[in-house]
């Protein structure tokens, strides 16, 4: 199929341009496309708009693209983990479009499914509704939210087969499938590439039709909030 590339830089070759819109998978630091983010840093692409639930932390995840001032605008639901983000935002260097988390996920899925707009109750009567069309269904107010159509999706999965079929692992699935759906081109990094025919067709989370390029990467998989409980004495 020719979907497998040998490095993140190679997989992104020809896809990056200044001012582009990138949809990124991940929640916090869980299931983020670490290698692809690093390669975008290396490529130096500028004025990026990034649709991603969070903005990474200082020095890791999308934080590295903020440090290098490659991001012009974030579309996110929560950015509290990142001091550099806050500094740039408060100084007016960075634009921020807050989206309720579910609205952001649905906007990505909608873009991927050819739906340019949908109505939701989320955010009605709040600042999120400012400037948005309101329509009543069944005597209740709903606001119009628009699909996100990204130039590029960057996604992290657990396993891919050679045809791009993807399997995610536990809560590392999160925004990755909707982010993958909404890009004109989707590049995926995985922990393991397996031969075609080794995945059960009923277990595939995202069919290869959504996946254009694949790399196998090393993943730090940093834990943001390590919380544990004590073992009871035996």
């Amino acid at each position: 199929m020719g979907k497998i590339y040998s490095s993140a830089a190679e997989a992104l070759d020809g896809l990056l341009f200044d001012g582009m819109l990138i949809a990124a998978g991940g929640f916090g630091l869980c299931g983020i496309p670490e290698n692809l983010i690093s390669a975008i840093r290396e490529a130096g692409t500028k004025d990026l708009t990034v649709a991603s639930n969070n903005a990474g932390v200082d020095g890791f995840g999308l934080g590295v693209l903020l440090e290098s001032r490659q991001v012009k605008k974030m579309m996110s639901s929560y950015v509290g983990e990142n001091d550099e983000f806050m500094r740039q935002y408060l100084s007016g260097e960075l634009e921020l479009e807050f989206n309720p988390q579910g609205t952001l996920a649905e906007r990505m899925r909608a873009g991927g499914c050819g739906i340019p707009g949908f109505y939701t109750k989320t955010g009605v009567g709040t600042v999120i509704a400012d400037g948005k069309e309101v329509k009543q269904f069944n005597n209740e107010d709903y606001i119009l939210e628009e699909g996100i159509f990204a130039d590029l999706s960057i996604v992290k999965a657990w396993k891919a087969d050679e045809t791009g079929n993807l399997i995610f692992r536990k809560t590392a699935r999160n925004f990755n499938p909707p982010a993958a759906m909404c890009g004109k081109v989707c590049v995926v990094e995985v922990e393991e590439i397996v031969p075609r025919g080794t995945m059960d067709g009923d277990h595939i989370h995202l069919p290869g039709i959504y996946v254009h390029r694949i790399i196998q990467g090393d993943h730090e998989k940093r834990i943001e909030q390590r919380t544990t409980r004590k073992r009871e004495e035996a």
Binding site: F27, G28, L29, C30, G31, N53, S76, S77, Y78, V79, G80, E81, M86, L90, F98, P100, Q101, G102, T103, L104, A105, E106, M108, R109, T120, K121, T122, G123, V124, G125, T126, V127, I128, W158, F168, R169, K170, T171, A172, R173, N174, F175, N176, P177, P178, H205, K221, R222, I223, E224, Q225, R226, T227, T228, R229, K230, R231
Partner: protein, 207 residues
């Protein structure tokens, strides 16, 4: 004597019935899980999981298994995983029976403010707006007054809203209030708290 944090969580746990799917916010709401007892409650983590288990034992943390507070957690025998669009689809679609959340302000018409204070650092609403707009029942658990002794239950919210007319019940250190179409109604008082004390501590009108 007014309830402490744990007693408020224990009281909130009474809101949950067998078989319910529930979303618990950060802070006191998280403590509610300690008081569900034998009830068969399934906790949602809105980053894509139903059937959230306790924190892992040290050394068993899995970076691919976190909750919406980004904390490492574990799975249970009933656990299912799904993507964020599906997760918020079930929230928006009213499949989650109840959300128990903290708040900065609640108004007598059910308005809720719990995500931003103008002039302070704004971190974002995360999934809070989706939850309050979508789940079957929104239960707020919070201190009745702020650290300056000022009521957090108001005639009108002063902070930017998380949702309009969304709160069903408020559990505070002083007792339990219901938001009805006629206004706030006292459902229960913490031991030793009088109706007059509750009214005095509340800016909103109690009917």
């Amino acid at each position: 004597m007014p309830w402490d944090r744990n007693q408020m969580a224990e009281r909130a746990a009474q809101e949950l019935d067998d078989g319910m799917y529930v979303n618990l916010g950060i802070g006191i709401p998280t403590l509610v899980a300690n008081y569900v007892g034998d009830k068969d409650i399934t906790l949602q983590s809105e980053n894509g999981m139903l059937g959230m288990g306790p924190f892992p034992y040290e050394g068993e943390e899995d970076p691919d298994l976190i909750n919406a507070g980004k904390q490492t957690i574990t799975e249970l025998a009933r656990t299912s995983y799904f993507d964020s669009a599906t997760s918020f689809g079930m929230i928006r679609g009213g499949k989650i029976a109840a959300a128990i959340l903290g708040a900065m302000e609640v108004a007598e018409n059910g308005d809720l403010a719990n995500w931003m204070i103008p002039g302070k650092l704004v971190k974002g609403m995360g999934g809070a707006m989706d939850l309050v707009a979508g789940v079957g029942r929104v239960i707020v658990v919070m201190d009745h007054t702020n650290k300056h002794g000022v009521s957090k239950i108001l005639k009108r919210c002063t902070l930017p809203l998380t949702g309009r007319g969304v709160v069903d019940r408020i559990i505070t250190n002083l007792g339990v209030l219901d938001v009805t179409h006629k206004g706030l109604h006292i459902q229960e008082l913490a031991p030793g708290v009088t109706r007059d004390e509750m009214i005095a501590a509340t800016e909103a009108t109690i009917v």
